[in-house]
Symmetry: C2
Subunit: 481 residues, 2 copies
Amino acid sequence: MERPTPLSAHRLAVIIDSWDTGSGPAYRRLADRIRAAVMDGRIPTGTRLPSERTLAEATGLSRTTTARAYETLRETGLARTRHGSGTVVEVPLGAAGSTSMLGRPAGEDGLALTAAATEAPEGFARLVEHALRSLPAVLATDGYLPDGLPFLRERLAARFAAQGLPTDPEQIVVTTGAQSALSLLIAVLVRPGDRVMVESCGYPHAFDMLTRAGARLVPLPLGETPWPLDDVARIAPAVQTALIVADHHNPTGALMSSQDRRAVARTLSNAGVTTIVDETLRDVSIGGAPVPEPYAVHDPRAIVIGSAAKSLWGGLRIGWIRAPRSLVPRLVQERMLRDLGTAALDQLVVATALERGEIMPEGRAADLRRRRDALIAAVEDRLPDWRLSRPDGGLSVWATLPEAVSSALSIAAQEEGLTLTPGPRFFPTHPALGERHLRLPLVLPPERVEEAVSRLARAWARLGSGHALAPGDPDAVDLIA
Amino acid sequence: MERPTPLSAHRLAVIIDSWDTGSGPAYRRLADRIRAAVMDGRIPTGTRLPSERTLAEATGLSRTTTARAYETLRETGLARTRHGSGTVVEVPLGAAGSTSMLGRPAGEDGLALTAAATEAPEGFARLVEHALRSLPAVLATDGYLPDGLPFLRERLAARFAAQGLPTDPEQIVVTTGAQSALSLLIAVLVRPGDRVMVESCGYPHAFDMLTRAGARLVPLPLGETPWPLDDVARIAPAVQTALIVADHHNPTGALMSSQDRRAVARTLSNAGVTTIVDETLRDVSIGGAPVPEPYAVHDPRAIVIGSAAKSLWGGLRIGWIRAPRSLVPRLVQERMLRDLGTAALDQLVVATALERGEIMPEGRAADLRRRRDALIAAVEDRLPDWRLSRPDGGLSVWATLPEAVSSALSIAAQEEGLTLTPGPRFFPTHPALGERHLRLPLVLPPERVEEAVSRLARAWARLGSGHALAPGDPDAVDLIA
């Protein structure tokens, strides 16, 4: 049946090395570290842990310690020893498929600051109703739309053109969300061993997908911006592909300046790098600085990914790719092996939203602004040592902690009924760098922010009192949108 | 940028060997065979053809012949010689992304008998309207449903239970169509080099996905049924996994008997084979024999795939997996790397259809019956030498031709304005076996069947007169649903 995926002792040592988690016996601390990495998705269920002996060698711990740590994991139902397969991580059955495994609150009273995604904006139901007026024409077809609904492709092309990127509808492929767009592009463009430039902190699922495809991630260090120009110039000649989130960068909220866009694009295109620009958050502008011209204006060969999931609603699985025409047939063929096409109703809704100028409803921007301000005010009030970003767009605030304890804080917060995604999850190659950070998504309405931040502050207080490492429930895996 | 995928001379020889295509100079015949294989998707765009020399060695043709054939392909815009990359197949830009590349009719007057998929059934718009009454509850969430809408998972579980398969909703994962369900299962269960038992003719995209995953296909020969029991017993000990379509098998329309279900399931489960049962066409019963109990009743460890795309409408990208609970977390994690979840509106529509007993509307069964009868009558009238299946369900009639000329017929039909999928496309390992077959999907309403079959008969007549090999437009790639 399903086969375990091996994890090397070296890799496990890198993952847990970022967890400077306090007191108690060594085996217990080791078990807690592994447990926490399973919780946030860095160690997926079905992973075969390295042998006790190789883990001992890689970490410098004794074999007795590693053996007792594994025993603890088994006792708490988080791992199983399978005949001939070693020790395999298994999320307990009770949690399988429940929302609690998705980094969401388990109990009725639980709160989560994990996925950067909100409920649908006001007026969404009316938009759907409006879209359904065009339904009969679509129902008269067989509904399979491997490249996308023509109506939607035309509107997207016109929109790119209006932003300074002349685009033929045949350059557009509509996908099942931006995730699926990136997954298709990786399948077509990236070969095992390819080097891919990424931002040093960024969207974890993108890193997971690239790693799965056998790519070697080459991270830009996080400087004043996520794109220090000197580092771009240093790295460009060494990579085949680059992945860039220039608009309301996730998780920092940074917006690449027009000047930097020009400079980065020139450097990468001169080096012959194929650049994928993820514009998922481009439309999620919530006031403040205007968004500069699209990155691809400076590199017309760049491939652009877009999405309606953040600007409009995540329940719409609609993303798109703008690619050179020569790439489109391969993308369509690849998607024929995956989902045959994207939901027709959703495509109608997004086409209608574009037509009516409602892809990022005005009310939504105002609402997100209120959430941002309430969150920042509450954290500044309760946790005055923390430094916070004040993003002009996107769906999260980026916190810098006075100490490198993000993972321990996440464990403590779980005890308080608050689920967090620890900072290391956003740093693909050097997770320890994330211990000083926490992403706080704008998911809660102002009236619930107060309670969430109270819990956060209580968890923070626990850290000082040494209670941080009481084992939390190993029931959260991953939902980071 | 995108890299060509190499195709070995041996494999190309196997593909084109099935094309016994008449007269004319050898280089021209070779070019026509390659062109036709590109047309139906067996050779994807972006494929690097073997060198002229190795192809000559593998086929026994002269190097001059292979060189002139490649030259012809280049002249007609179907291949390009790229510096350092050899000869690469490229679907002409004009066709990129247009419906004509999807095996659909190019012109206004064109007809296609390719995808087994129809327009939405009568009453579908009302169903959507009804489903939208439940929308507000879903809009209050963030819409990300990696395992599926709870409402839909419950209804699917209850339905399995009613069919004799007790099922917990946590055993269900809702996917973006059955294609995506199979793609997820292959990613989780199949490793490169695994042997997978498949029916010797079947759904081409399933074979494409398995081959892409590095699986080795072990086909059951096509006997009285697609599942000769002796061959199942012979093959079972040699494979890790089996893929079975027991209900209205695509493309033959065969229905596995209850007795055979029991026998096949016992043999496979005794051999420890993990079986994937694709029930996509189970609900598409159009009268005649009742459908036996689900295959999985006899092998409760079997993994079941279902879909609403055939029973209801292909524009709904809703499929599902029923799996042992232990497998669900891995499936959900895998899908997080692909599409994060399935469209919420579509899930509501399917849940509503299940609740109202409209997943296969009665009117649709009657309509498909009329289409089947009209198609059979027209073919029997015009092409009396052909043998036809008279399926009790599914979306196509399976024709057996008096000569092994299916590919040549498809080329001739294109000239008549009729697009076909040649029989070899359905035979993964021995395409030549498909030359005696043609799948005729029930896509056209009775009033258009007459015209389509006239064109088919004219194309058939051309074969006799030696005109079959006039080059068709190389503008069709693949849409076989």
